[in-house]
């Protein structure tokens, strides 16, 4: 194991000498962000290698407008809001789900299935499932919607904020952040979409895309592969997480997502409106759409808290460059979502990175 790490480290050193310029690698997965910090990999990389955390945390990329729509629902006494735990503390203009749950009932669930069960158990209320997450999570929502349709659970609906990673990578490379030389691609998203899906980024933007696991040795080997590709000029698509990820991904999951959802233009925190980047329910399942049912708009929101999560998510600044970081904004009193979520970049810097 140690020799693999040392070997990878040598490859990175050699490649960097050959390149003789700074190299910027972005990871687009919150679990990678935490794994990289935890492993201390940053401290053994040459100074010329810069690791950036991109829009890889689903709660963080959720636009303020969506958060406001969720918070609007808390003012209704006929709703029961079912949400993954991470969402509950994201601040809106007047508070968070946790503090605003005055009329509506707010329950933390671990699965879309639990939300559907809540609807069956509470026929007098409408259960709104706060459906956020990337390609990894969307299939679970799709299954619940299909089941609701099949079993006529009409008091169930979802507020879909599901996001797609590849359109966001395209948006970054199309002008938002052209410093990015390569991507460490998200492992669990790749389980669903298959590593082949990143081929379009490699072909069109000539950036290495390497899917890696979450162990320190897997991460450093992925980084070594990226540096080697950059030095040799042979840009490629590669997965070194072969124990879990296949080229085609989980086709059963892809099929059910395609049946239930269609990609539409959507708003991201920091990245703005990205074409075909958000999953909305198809016509056939529209009656389960909470936006329609409650007349909510999916529009860009305003955040005037001074939080710079948007720039953090695009890799334009590191969290300590935000004046609120570790002063007004801490995990106990988060000002922005990147500090709320355990996968958030600001939270990871707060916990592991302040001495970096």
């Amino acid at each position: 194991m140690l020799d693999r790490i040392v070997n990878a480290q040598h490859q990175i050193d050699d490649a960097c000498k050959q390149l003789d310029r700074p190299v910027t690698i972005m990871e687009v997965c919150g679990t990678h962000t935490v794994a990289i910090f935890r492993s201390g990999i940053r401290s053994i990389l040459p100074a010329s290698v810069k690791l950036l955390s991109g829009p890889g945390c689903p709660v963080c990329v959720t636009d303020q407008g969506y958060i406001d729509a969720v918070l609007e629902l808390t003012q209704r006494d006929d709703c029961l809001i079912a949400t993954y735990g991470d969402m509950i503390r994201v601040p809106g203009r007047h508070g968070s789900l946790e503090t605003l749950a005055s009329k509506a009932d707010v329950r933390v669930v671990l699965s879309s299935e639990d939300a559907l069960q809540l609807a069956k158990d509470n026929p007098g209320k409408t259960v709104v499932f706060i459906a956020v997450g990337f390609e990894t999570t969307a299939p679970a929502t799709a299954v619940a919607v299909k089941e609701a349709a099949g079993q006529d659970v009409e008091n169930f609906c979802i507020l879909s904020g599901h996001k797609l990673v590849i359109p966001a990578m395209r948006a970054l490379l199309s002008g938002m952040n052209d410093r990015i030389d390569a991507f460490l691609c998200p492992g669990h998203v790749s389980v669903i979409i298959g590593f082949g899906a990143f081929g379009e980024i490699v072909d069109e933007f000539r950036r290495p895309c390497v899917v890696g696991g979450f162990e320190p040795v897997q991460i450093i080997e992925a980084l070594a592969e990226i540096c080697r590709q950059l030095a040799s000029g042979q840009v490629q698509l590669k997965s070194i997480y072969s124990a879990v990820v296949t080229e085609k991904g989980n086709t059963a999951a892809q099929t059910i997502v395609a049946e239930v959802f269609e990609p539409v233009d959507g708003y991201w925190r920091g990245l703005g409106k990205i074409p075909a980047s958000t999953l909305a329910l198809r016509e056939r399942y529209r009656r389960f759409d909470a936006f329609e049912r409650f007349g909510l708009a999916d529009q860009p929101g305003q955040d005037d808290s001074g939080c710079r999560c948007g720039e953090v998510l695009c890799g334009l600044i590191d969290p300590p460059q935000c004046v609120l970081f570790a002063r007004q904004c801490t995990p106990q009193h988060p000002i922005g979502p990147c500090m709320v979520s355990s996968e958030g970049t600001c939270a990871a810097w707060f916990k592991y990175g302040r001495r970096d």
Partner: protein, 80 residues
């Protein structure tokens, strides 16, 4: 919340499974992984098995997960 946990299928009836991760047992569905069988180690995310995992990989991820979970137990986090 993007976390996926490897877990072994210890009970399976149609698409309803009980899985075991490091001694913790919980329910998961195999709707998205119809090829999953009793005894398989699968990656579970948001209550669904999403892929098969080999034992070696599972062990490594269990170790990482133990650490992230302890991170999540700090007061700033409600489980998700």
């Amino acid at each position: 919340m993007c976390l996926a946990i490897p877990a072994r299928i210890v009970e399976l009836e149609a698409d309803k499974a009980v899985v075991d991760a490091m001694g913790n047992r919980f329910k998961a569905k195999t709707t998205l992984l119809p090829q999953a069988r009793l005894g398989d180690v699968v990656l579970v995310h948001a209550g669904f098995a999403i892929s098969l995992v080999d034992e070696e990989e599972a062990k490594k991820t269990w170790e990482l997960f133990a650490e992230i979970e302890s991170f999540e137990k700090t007061p700033n986090k409600l489980s998700g």
